[in-house]
């Protein structure tokens, strides 16, 4: 007879409604009080067979005990115990989906907190040549297998410094895509300083998705984002990004989004988001700076402030959503979509799976942030992937290989977090980011709360958000 145990779960309540989130399924159900009561009869460590389950529910005086036991099993709230054997999956080659081009290491700004700054031991190299770029585009298509759509990301340094290369790559990739009957998409992250009329037009015409790194109003932005002589970069970018947004909005280009690096203090988040949305950015996303330098790092108190500000902004987002309006706070949007899609993640991100980055010296790395770090080189354009290195990485990076995450309630959403962050803060790429566990857990739980509220007030809004992120809406049954 099969033995069952209570599935790891989080129960949360919103205005008299009870919800359950099943950790290893990423499934969210609304449940009635009698179901909650029944769940509580079991504890985490308990194992029971069907007979014992029935008896327990019956003894608690719950009516329809048979039906309820079936429900709990069918909905996997009680799950069969499966002894995990030592297995090794021989992973198929994962088709390449995204290749990040390190257009140049050079940058015309000298942001104090940048991981490319002089204190880091990252080798700086010359800009990528046309020949390398061509080879890299070929490599991306050759390894994309059945993927119909590939994405090229222009990254740096400041990629626009090497604008000629960007135009070359775009043209070449488009031609190649056409020939192969595939689609090439493009995205760029820029500091905004070099957005001339010509550049903006080019981005528009080629449907390039633009992310601008901007940290907020002038006094906040200029604190860390400066020219080498300490001059204000805010003043330099303001007219340019206004022009960019304006052009894209009037002509119907892709939404322009902002990426905010939160360094040292986080109290300004609401003010910053307000400022960026007023400038016309469709959305802004916030990420704490990745550094081990205490001069820029967010300390524990500041992390707490950031969490509170995230909650405040999520509440505001919800007020908009209730009325079917949109408030561009990227972090909550991404989290809600993740929850709605019920994604079960065994890896924190696509790095080293469908995503790699290529450097000017034709080397392949796990992702853009790890470029130049020899230990994480995964092959090169001439010889292809170093399959042993990739395999080793995938094995070590998998959630199963992180025992410290084994009991965590949000493990299938976080999966240990960013490798680059782990490398800097935990000194090991494949270690879990234990320094921000509490933060992540609370943030995800808040996301669940917002999810519950939204489901009650405007459930279809979650489908709209999913579609905004390129998913199909969640209606009725899948498949």
């Amino acid at each position: 007879m099969i033995t069952y145990k209570q599935a790891d779960h989080i129960i949360f309540k919103e205005s008299d409604h009870i919800f359950i989130f099943l950790v290893s399924e990423s499934a969210i159900f609304e449940i009635e009080p009698k179901i909650e009561k029944t769940i509580k009869l079991f504890n985490k460590s308990e194992q029971s067979n069907k007979k014992e389950i029935l008896k327990k529910i019956k003894d608690a005086g719950i009516k329809n005990y048979q039906e309820i036991a079936d429900t709990l099993i069918k909905r996997r709230i009680l799950t069969p115990l499966i002894e995990k054997k030592n297995i090794s999956c021989v992973y198929n080659k994962i088709p390449l989906k995204t290749l990040v081009f390190n257009i140049t290491d050079r940058c015309n700004l000298s942001c104090l907190y940048c991981y490319h700054n002089k204190d880091n031991k990252i080798e700086k190299t010359d800009s990528m040549t046309f020949a390398t770029a061509e080879k890299a585009v070929d490599f991306l298509f050759d390894n994309s297998d059945a993927n119909k759509k590939v994405t090229i990301v222009f990254f740096g340094g400041e990629p626009v410094i090497n604008f000629d290369l960007i135009t070359f790559i775009t043209g070449y990739a488009q031609k190649k895509a056409k020939k192969l009957q595939k689609k090439a998409e493009f995205a760029i992250t820029t500091n905004g300083t070099l957005l001339t009329e010509k550049v903006i037009d080019f981005f528009y015409q080629n449907k390039i998705g633009v992310t601008v790194s901007i940290d907020g109003p002038q006094e906040i932005h200029d604190k860390f984002r400066q020219f080498a002589d300490g001059g204000s970069s805010y003043k330099a970018i303001l007219p340019k990004i206004k022009n960019l947004i304006n052009k894209f909005q009037t002509k119907g280009g892709k939404p322009v989004v902002a990426r905010v690096t939160v360094a040292k203090n986080a109290a300004h988040l609401p003010q910053t988001l307000e400022h960026l949305l007023k400038l016309g950015f469709a959305e802004a996303g916030f990420g704490p700076v990745t550094t081990d330098n205490p001069a820029y790092q967010l300390n524990t108190d500041e992390m707490k402030i950031m969490l509170n500000k995230f909650k405040e902004l999520s509440d505001k987002f919800l007020r908009y959503a209730d009325e079917d309006k949109f408030y561009g706070f990227t972090n909550i949007i991404d989290l809600l979509v993740l929850l709605h899609q019920g994604e079960v993640k065994n890896y924190p991100c696509g790095a080293g799976l469908g995503l790699f980055a290529v450097s000017a010296e034709e080397k392949l790395y796990l992702c853009q942030r790890l470029i130049g770090n020899k230990a994480f080189c995964m092959g090169n354009l001439s010889d292809g992937f170093d399959t042993e290195a990739v395999k080793k990485f995938r094995k070590k990076a998998e959630l199963n290989a992180k025992p410290e995450c084994g009991l965590c309630e949000v493990r299938y959403i976080c999966a240990g977090g960013c490798y680059h962050e782990a490398l800097i803060r935990e000194k090991k790429l494949t270690k879990a980011n234990l320094h921000y566990c509490e933060w992540i857990k609370e943030w995800i739980k808040y996301g669940l709360k917002i999810y519950g509220k939204l489901i009650l007030k405007n459930p279809d809004y979650l489908n709209k958000l999913s579609m905004l992120r390129g998913h199909s809406p969640v209606t009725g049954h899948i498949i």
Partner: protein, 115 residues
């Protein structure tokens, strides 16, 4: 198959994953011994969508048919269907890990070897 048919009193599926469980359950319990439950549906394809080989579709499941997509996860255990997968009940519970959305990622599925 309607939404209603799968509804169990007291528990309502909200997100995609939950709806998938709701959908799965019907076949699991329709075809299997009541004690068996897996993380994936078991049992063979319930519909055979002929003609898919010559008519790849652009929607999910991308490039193959509904029934064949189901086969990748359905055919474990004592099943005759040729697209049989490794036994994901006891020995290879992680077999489909590289497929977050089977209807899109089924190409990532491979064989497994036991060490």
């Amino acid at each position: 198959m309607t939404d209603k048919k799968n509804k169990i009193k007291g528990v309502k599926a909200l997100n995609k994953s939950a709806k998938q469980i709701e959908k799965t359950e019907e076949e699991v319990f329709g075809m299997a011994d009541e004690d068996i439950i897996t993380s994936m549906p078991i049992g063979c394809t319930t519909i055979f969508d002929t003609g898919w080989e010559t008519n790849p579709r652009s929607t999910t499941p991308i490039g193959n048919c509904v029934s064949s997509a189901r086969d990748f996860t359905s055919c474990s255990g004592p099943c005759w269907w040729p697209a049989q997968t490794p036994d994901n009940i006891t020995n290879f519970p992680d077999f489909q890990n590289q497929c977050r959305a089977i209807e899109k990622d089924w190409r990532n599925l491979n064989f497994v070897i036991k060490k």
